[in-house]
């Protein structure tokens, strides 16, 4: 315990986050073994983990780097479909866990590459302009994915942007991605265990990155770009590092997500998905990784829990969202809460 007290605040926060993920995993395992895990919750486990990873990735950009991205679903999409292609083209030639790992790695790699291509031009812009361009790129990715046809046969992978017929495949060929319909007959490779391991790895990467020289530089640019430059911190390089890391992690989340379903369509990763993840980040607290984990998990389950309100659930969700935003950001409400908080703090000081 003494040792724990000595640790720096951010080290404590990091361990708290690993703890939350591990405890969540154990609780789910206990529920599953004792037969208390409902089918609907069971089906939600991998989406929950995927969205938690997405929220962490976006928080790296929004909270740590201080740039608003409205197109992160695009990176998720790149990761999802490249993951599907990789896992399906490896069918029969490698065991399932290997296929999953390769799918996630290639998904992350290609999404990271998309991050570089988008990030280099985009990160010269600031504020709302950067936000709108990320939105535009998100829409472009969705649009391109809608026209993407990929098939595999004995000769290898075929790609077309026109239609399935122009893939020019041999008779034994199999269509992997079929334009707006997306991927069909995908082998479900993702498991809750794999998702949890990926989440822990992502947490290690993000937290260690943030609590290092690189992370400090990224946060310095967020706090004051001009002072960061004057202190010798190259702005574009570090903004790009944050953006690309985030894109790659989003790609990994996409691959994990897609390989949980037998069919997945490009329109799943649209503007609304980008916004959904942004809501997780903002409600969890900008820059607060623990908040992102909890908000993403709770808000992914929430619509399920509100199921008995049927048609009203999304309306309730909207109202709750507005009220929470006003309650946490209104000056008067804040002053009131701070007034309440002060008292216990003073007691402690005595």
């Amino acid at each position: 315990m003494e040792l724990f007290k000595k640790l720096k605040k951010h080290t404590k926060m990091s361990f708290l986050n690993y703890g939350i993920v591990i405890v969540f995993y154990i609780v789910i395992q206990i529920l599953a073994m004792s037969g208390h895990l409902t089918n609907s919750l069971k089906g939600q486990l991998i989406p929950i983990v995927s969205y938690v990873i997405m929220a962490l990735a976006l928080n790296l950009v929004v909270g740590i780097s201080g740039e608003l991205s409205l197109g992160h679903a695009g990176f998720m999409s790149v990761g999802a479909f490249s993951g599907v292609v990789v896992s399906m083209s490896m069918a029969g030639s490698a065991p399932e866990p290997v296929r999953l790992i390769c799918a996630i790695l290639i998904g992350a790699l290609l999404a990271g590459l998309a991050g570089v291509i988008i990030g280099i031009p985009v990160l010269r812009l600031n504020g709302d302009y950067l936000a709108i361009v990320t939105l535009a790129f998100g829409e472009i990715i969705k649009n391109v994915m809608n026209c993407l046809y990929v098939g595999v046969d004995g000769a290898g992978i075929h790609v077309s942007f026109k239609d399935a017929g122009s893939l020019g495949m041999a008779a034994d060929g199999k269509i992997l991605i079929n334009g707006p319909i997306g991927a069909n007959g995908v082998t479900k490779l993702s498991t809750f265990m794999a998702g949890t391991v990926l989440l822990i790895i992502v947490l290690i990467i993000i937290q260690n990155l943030v609590n290092s020289r690189t992370g400090l530089a990224i946060m310095a640019i967020r706090d004051n770009r001009i002072a960061a430059e004057a202190s010798g911190v190259p702005v574009t390089k570090y903004k790009l590092i944050a953006f690309v890391t985030s894109a790659a992690i989003a790609g990994a989340a996409g691959a994990l997500y897609a390989l949980n379903y037998s069919t997945i369509a490009p329109k799943k990763f649209d503007f609304n998905t980008s916004i959904l993840v942004l809501v997780f980040v903002v409600l969890g607290g900008i820059g607060n990784m623990t908040g992102s984990i909890i908000a993403a998990a709770l808000l992914t389950i929430l619509p399920e829990l509100l199921r008995k309100f049927a048609d009203y659930r999304m309306l309730i969700y909207a109202i709750v969202l507005i009220i929470v935003m006003i309650a946490t950001n209104n000056e008067k409400v804040r002053a009131f809460v701070n007034g309440l908080k002060k008292k216990p703090a003073q007691e402690e000081a005595k």
């Binding site: 472009i140 809501v279 209104n330």
Partner: protein, 290 residues
């Protein structure tokens, strides 16, 4: 070619009218009002109900739609955005998204997810012949409405007291307050005008593309927002220019390059413009004081 150009200008005019709402609100409240697109949808439904259920004449339906949306705009601003006047722009953005969800889901409950077929308001008018191409009346009316609105708004912001107050608030909120301008009322007024325009845009959009769903406003909303940024957000002529150009690019992209990729082309052009001129076509640069 000519038909495509006219159709493009017409679609662009709808974007321009919506973009005006975005740009005015951004100029004054410095917020991205993502719920603006959904106000269009509400405007469409009000006009639809007035005509199809109540049997009102089109002009009355448009009026009803404008009145309802104007009030809606004021109510949204007062309830959801006003308490966040000094909050971070991200907090306001998320709230706007909350409002957008609310409007879409309220519409879903009231009007269900079934697609409504919007009545042709200009059914009585014959198509116009122009150099061998037929042009639907709604196309020309949209372009005409756009020009009228543009002129009226320019006069409003340059001549009237309220319009000048709006410009003052968008320049410097603090100084405007010191000059005795009621900032809250000015912002409220801006939302009223923007939402009223959204209603007109909604009616025009639904007449040209006669399907109405709770999500009808979302995509035109995003594109109009893009148009506002394209032209230089905060600038009224910029919104007009950005909207029209966007519409033309979209129609030409559909006609000559690829139907499926037309949206991608629109957004790609936006990105290129912003990279060359980061504040949009007519936006002006603000130098940060060091």
């Amino acid at each position: 070619m000519l038909a495509n150009l006219i159709n493009g200008i017409s679609l662009g005019s709808v974007y321009a009218i919506i973009a005006l709402g975005y740009t005015m609100v951004y100029g004054i409240a410095k917020m991205l009002n993502f719920a603006h697109g959904d106000v269009i949808m509400v405007g469409g439904y009000i006009a639809f109900c007035s005509i199809s259920y109540l049997g009102w004449p089109p002009i009355l339906a448009v009026l009803a739609s404008v009145v309802v949306c104007t009030i809606l705009g004021i109510v949204i601003e007062g309830l959801a955005y006003k308490p966040l006047r000094n909050a971070t722009s991200l907090a306001v953005l998320i709230t706007a998204i909350g409002v957008s969800y609310f409007l879409q889901n309220a519409a879903l409950l009231i009007w269900t997810s079934n697609t409504k077929v919007f009545p042709n308001m200009f059914a009585g008018m014959a198509p116009i012949q122009l150099g061998g191409t037929q042009i639907a009346p709604v196309t020309l009316i949209t372009v005409f409405a756009n020009i009228v609105i543009m002129v009226a708004l320019t006069l409003f912001t340059s001549r009237t007291k309220m319009g000048k107050a709006m410009r003052a608030v968008s320049e410097d909120k603090g100084a405007a307050t010191l000059m005795g301008i009621n900032v809250n009322r000015t912002i409220s007024m801006t939302f009223a005008i923007g939402s009223g325009l959204a209603a007109i845009a909604g009616v025009l959009l639904c007449t040209a593309y006669p399907t109405l769903m709770p999500t009808t406003g979302a995509m035109p909303g995003i594109k109009a927002f893009t148009a506002a940024v394209f032209g230089g957000i905060g600038s009224i002529p910029g919104a007009m220019l950005g909207g029209v150009l966007l519409g033309v690019i979209e129609i030409f992209g559909k006609a000559y390059i690829s139907t499926q990729l037309s949206d991608a082309i629109v957004f790609a052009v936006l990105i290129i413009v912003l990279l060359v001129k980061p504040t949009g076509l007519l936006g002006h640069k603000v130098r940060e004081k060091v």
